[in-house]
């Protein structure tokens, strides 16, 4: 071990070291508080992360570890740890508070987050390595490795900036106040007027379709009219307005409609990453799969 070229054993040791460091952090400072990553902290963390990756890439010829991180031999142990912890997360009930110590809040568990970060760093380095020896045939590799980094980093760092509010609107009474997940009153900067709530049912009484005809008035004086229903949100001033609920006891006679208002400033980057991954998966089967050998 530790004889060049390194392969998987070294990776398992480094990953183990990361998990141990994570455990120490967990004991010392407690679970990760993602809400602390709200703007501009997430931007600063992103810049630091990019700088770290950039420095590692620049010094890849001087520091052998950085060179090794770009290879599949480093990816295997890292992915094994990531997969194992994710399986553990699937086996143990995930709850907001209580449950098993540490493992029931896996997303706030330092070892889990550190090993995912490790995966992002080696994937970014591998992508950079292929970008810098540019050829058209490198595109599939770059799409896959960069796509996953863009999507996951943007989703993780952007999470604290997502605003998700609920607004209950009665017919004919414009509403501008909403509540967040903790029940605190918020003003999203737009008002919703409910003109009509409609609902259709199947023969067995289960809901088939429910929808709300609404007008949205924004602070900058715009008025947007539209219909909001499940799977068809309305987009106004960076907010997406979703049909969330209604008076279930009254059914079609409901006099109010509940909307969910979501704003996610990082969504562009998440979508960019997702589309890169979709293109990458297409390339995976068309160009990256080994050529068939006939018997």
């Amino acid at each position: 071990m530790w004889v060049k070229p390194w392969n998987m054993k070294e990776g398992f040791l480094i990953g183990g070291g990361l998990l141990f460091t994570g455990l120490l952090l967990q004991v010392a400072i407690g679970p990760i508080r993602w809400e602390l990553f709200a703007w501009p902290v997430n931007l600063i963390v992103l810049i630091l992360l990019l700088a770290a990756v950039g420095v590692m890439f620049a010094f890849r010829r001087c520091v052998y570890a950085f060179e090794w991180m770009m290879h599949a031999g480093a990816a295997v142990p890292c992915l094994v740890y990531v997969a194992t912890l994710t399986i553990l997360m699937g086996l143990l009930p995930q709850v907001r508070t209580g449950g098993m110590p540490w493992l029931s809040q896996m997303l706030r568990f330092w070892p889990f987050v550190l090993i995912w970060t490790w995966m992002m760093i080696i994937s970014a380095l591998a992508a950079l390595n292929h970008i810098f020896r540019w050829k058209v045939k490198e595109i599939p590799f770059i799409l896959n490795h960069l796509g996953v980094v863009v999507a996951i980093v943007a989703a993780t760092l952007g999470n604290a900036d997502i605003q998700s509010l609920q607004m209950t609107v009665f017919t004919g009474e414009p509403e501008w106040r909403a509540v967040d997940d903790d029940g605190a009153l918020q003003e999203p900067g737009l008002a919703i007027e409910l003109h009509r709530f409609t609902m259709e049912e199947y023969a067995d009484g289960t809901p088939k379709r429910f929808a709300s005809d609404i007008s949205v008035y924004t602070e900058d004086g715009k008025t947007v009219q539209g219909t909001v229903e499940v799977n068809k949100p309305l987009k106004v001033n960076g907010w997406k307005i979703y049909q969330y609920g209604y008076d279930v006891r009254m059914g079609p006679e409901s006099t109010y409609s509940v909307f969910q208002l979501v704003r996610d400033p990082w969504i562009f980057w998440v979508y960019l990453g997702i589309y890169m991954m979709i293109a990458g998966a297409l390339c995976l089967m068309l160009f990256m799969a080994p050529k068939p050998v006939k018997v």
Binding site: I162, F210, V230, P292, K294
Partner: protein
């Protein structure tokens, strides 16, 4: 088309697929293609009939997803046959498809016309269909792995076939997962919520990524790679239906459309 006629379509399809499998052993290529494709057409006719009579895509219940799985296994089988000429692949795909058909005959789902509003989306059909196709390919890769592990030997062309099945299967697994994310954003306002089904989908995806990278890092270690395929397929099964029996997912998943 009602569920009662399933047995006749299934019987016709399985007989045609079995005939195709027999002709594969006898090297009668035109007959292999003719029979297998005819079986696929018969089976698809039933799916289409269900689609029309239910007035929604037959993809909602577990029984309906099994229907697609039984359909895609021979599809994957004939693709593999056309490229690698393995004589036994169609026998396996027919047998496996037959097992899923039997499960569906013995344990038919409820096939009501109702489909909750959350499922009424253009994403619904592609999301589930690409997943079922991926499951069929990865199922075939699992069979290869079992076969090689039992025989304690793997030839280069067998590993080449297995790799190909995993590459294409993983691509479709990725499509399924990301279509799901794009759909979830439209339906629920969030593209990823670590719902138990999503967590298992991620775990499955990661396991197949381990396989891909392991094959690059240590091409000679076919045994570890094959064992990994078994582990990955267990994750895939948990994600597909095992989750309904998992204590950690009880009452937590919003991916439940089977029960009222």
């Amino acid at each position: 088309m009602s569920w009662d006629s399933f047995i006749w379509f299934a019987l016709g399809a399985v007989l045609l697929w079995a005939a195709g499998a027999v002709f594969a052993w006898k090297d009668r290529k035109p007959l292999v293609y003719a029979c297998t494709l005819a079986g696929i057409a018969v089976f698809f006719a039933f799916i289409l009939g269900m689609w029309i009579s239910l007035e929604r895509p037959p993809l909602r219940t577990m029984g309906e997803t099994r229907l697609w799985y039984s359909f895609f296994l021979p599809v994957a089988g004939i693709i593999v046959y056309s490229r690698w000429r393995y004589k036994w692949i169609l026998s396996f795909s027919t047998l496996l498809s037959f097992v899923f058909i039997c499960v569906n005959l013995l344990k038919p789902g409820i096939h009501s016309k109702s489909m909750m509003p959350a499922l009424q989306s253009p994403w619904f059909a592609p999301h589930v269909i690409v997943y079922m196709f991926s499951y069929a390919l990865l199922g075939a890769a699992t069979i290869m792995a079992v076969f090689m592990l039992i025989r304690k030997r793997a030839s280069a062309s067998e590993m080449n076939l297995t790799d190909n099945l995993v590459y294409v299967g993983l691509a479709f697994l990725t499509f399924g997962m990301l279509f799901g994310a794009l759909w979830a954003k439209e339906a629920w306002g969030t593209y990823w919520a670590w719902d138990p089904k999503e967590t298992w989908a991620a775990a499955t995806w990661l396991c197949y990524l381990v396989y891909l990278h392991l094959r690059k890092a240590k091409p000679g270690e076919w045994q570890s790679a094959c064992i990994l395929l078994l582990v990955s397929f267990v994750c895939l099964q948990i994600c597909w239906w095992g989750i309904n029996y998992l204590p950690s997912a009880q009452g937590l998943s919003i991916h439940t459309y089977n029960v009222k």
